[in-house]
């Protein structure tokens, strides 16, 4: 459980970090909180030649709320999501999701940008970013570009990040009045990886679902909108009950494979259970 040798550098500025990454020609890996990366290095799942410690770069820590966009720096720690009033008020989905990320010591170190860049299919934040319609700000020597979260996740641990690029910040559209957030996750133990999870943003104007973005995680290869399910819940009114059409939409969107730890039909069953719980929670809040 010891990593291979590597070189380490702590750039003095974001511009310096971009230079280091460009110079390394793809042999460098950025480290921020390191809560997934270092576990992987200790288990020798990867062996980068150079770690670029971006964990203290002020440029990646800024938070802002301008117009209808909340921008969170890539170094926002999971614990910050839990404690932030800005997040609680405008992005309650993240406040609901954060307690499920690892344990307190992990949340003290792990970062928003790190979780998105790692793109673990069982992670909470990629699913939340897609559900919220977030936009990622990516930076490199070539300048900055923006990519929508739903286009960013390409597959299992695979993203749109190019060599030499970093996640600088994430822009979230502010959740409007009448829009409700729901989150639920099933794991073997609290803090463990999700077997199945669900992040949902639901537009509940006039006591009826007008629009929805549901994103499952843990049972799919990457964070993506479950389009059939999101369409199937439109028009529902409290108590937002499950129906045969909704259940078949879940099977259609997920279409999981059997894996050594869980059969495909179990995953679909658990996804139905979570969907019922999340919709039930939203209905209860609508009635309150």
């Amino acid at each position: 459980m010891k990593s291979r040798s590597f070189r380490y550098i702590r750039p003095a500025s974001l511009a310096h970090a971009y230079q280091v990454l460009a110079d390394a020609n793809g042999d460098a890996v950025p480290i921020a909180g390191g809560q997934s990366l270092l576990a992987g290095l200790n288990m020798r799942l990867s062996a980068p030649k150079l770690l670029v410690d971006i964990g203290d770069l002020r440029e990646l820590m800024h938070h802002s709320h301008v117009g209808d966009v909340v921008r969170l720096g890539a170094l926002t720690r999971h614990g910050d999501l839990l404690r932030s009033e800005l997040v609680r008020k405008h992005l309650p989905l993240l406040t609901q999701a954060a307690p499920h990320i690892g344990h307190i010591a992990i949340r003290n170190r792990g970062t928003l940008g790190g979780s998105l860049a790692y793109a673990d299919p069982a992670a909470e934040l990629p699913a939340c970013a897609v559900a919220l319609g977030a936009t990622l700000v990516l930076g490199s020597c070539a300048g900055e570009r923006e990519v929508k979260a739903e286009d960013f996740f390409k597959g299992l641990f695979e993203t749109d990040l190019r060599p030499g690029e970093l996640i600088v910040a994430v822009k979230f559209p502010v959740v409007e009045n009448g829009t409700a957030a729901g989150f639920a996750e099933l794991s073997r133990r609290h803090g463990d990886f999700a077997m199945v999870g669900l992040a949902a943003i639901v537009d509940m104007q006039r006591d009826r679902i007008d629009g929805a973005r549901l994103v499952y995680f843990g049972c799919v290869d990457r964070a993506k909108v479950a389009h059939a399910v999101s369409a199937a819940v439109v028009g529902l009114r409290p108590p937002l009950a499950m129906s045969a059409a909704l259940e078949s939409a879940i099977s259609q969107d997920l279409a999981p494979d059997d894996t050594p730890d869980m059969r495909a039909d179990t995953k679909v069953h658990l996804a139905k259970v979570l969907t019922r719980r999340v919709l039930g929670g939203l209905a209860a809040r609508a009635a309150a």
Binding site: M1, K2, S3, R4, S5, F6, R7, Y8, I9, R10, H16, Q19, V20, D23, A24, I31, G34, Q35, L38, A39, L41, N42, M43, L50, L51, V52, D53, G55, D56, G79, G102, H103, I104, A105, I106, N108, R109, R189, H190, G191
Partner: protein, 166 residues
């Protein structure tokens, strides 16, 4: 203008605060903080169980918050303040927790105890009144393979109550 370093090094100069005292050392880039504490500084109160962030035996405080010693590089602590079970025992911050752990036999083999104590320390610093379920959840990142969990939760709850009365 000096040439900007672009390639990094395998030996890194660390300049940090450890248990309230300044610390300057050269470390191997690949060495994690728990190994550094144990092997280079002989601070063996920080234990190593799984070395991939699951068990919590290597818990230390970085700038006052718990962190996994195995998921932090020694090189990453530059400019930061690190506290270990040794420092917090010497300065008495854990005295009431340690006394309660002993009285309730919450430390059986003792392997998880330093991690448990530091996690409990951070949890109780807020001064909030927590339910037993809150305490269980907060302590869930630390494993006790003697499975002495009830005694540990009892001890943390008792200290919370005593501190609340003061």
């Amino acid at each position: 203008m000096s040439t900007t370093d672009l390639s990094g090094h395998e030996d890194i100069e660390v300049d940090a605060t450890l248990n309230g005292k300044p610390l300057r050392r050269r470390v191997k880039a690949r060495q994690h903080l728990a190994d550094f504490l144990r092997q280079e500084l002989e601070l063996t109160g920080t234990h190593l169980g799984c070395e991939h962030g699951i068990c919590g035996a290597c818990t230390v405080l970085i700038d006052g918050r718990t962190a996994r010693g195995c998921l932090t590089l020694a090189a990453q602590i530059s400019g930061k303040s690190v506290e270990t079970i040794e420092g917090l025992t010497e300065n008495g911050m854990l005295a009431d927790l340690q006394k309660e752990f002993i009285e309730r036999n919450a430390a059986q083999c003792g392997f998880c105890s330093s991690g448990m104590l530091l996690t409990a320390h951070e949890l109780l610093l807020s001064g909030e009144t927590l339910s037993r379920a809150d305490i269980r959840e907060a302590m869930s990142g630390n494993m006790c393979r003697c499975t002495g969990y009830h005694a540990i939760i009892d001890a943390v709850e008792a200290v919370m109550t005593t501190r609340g009365r003061r």
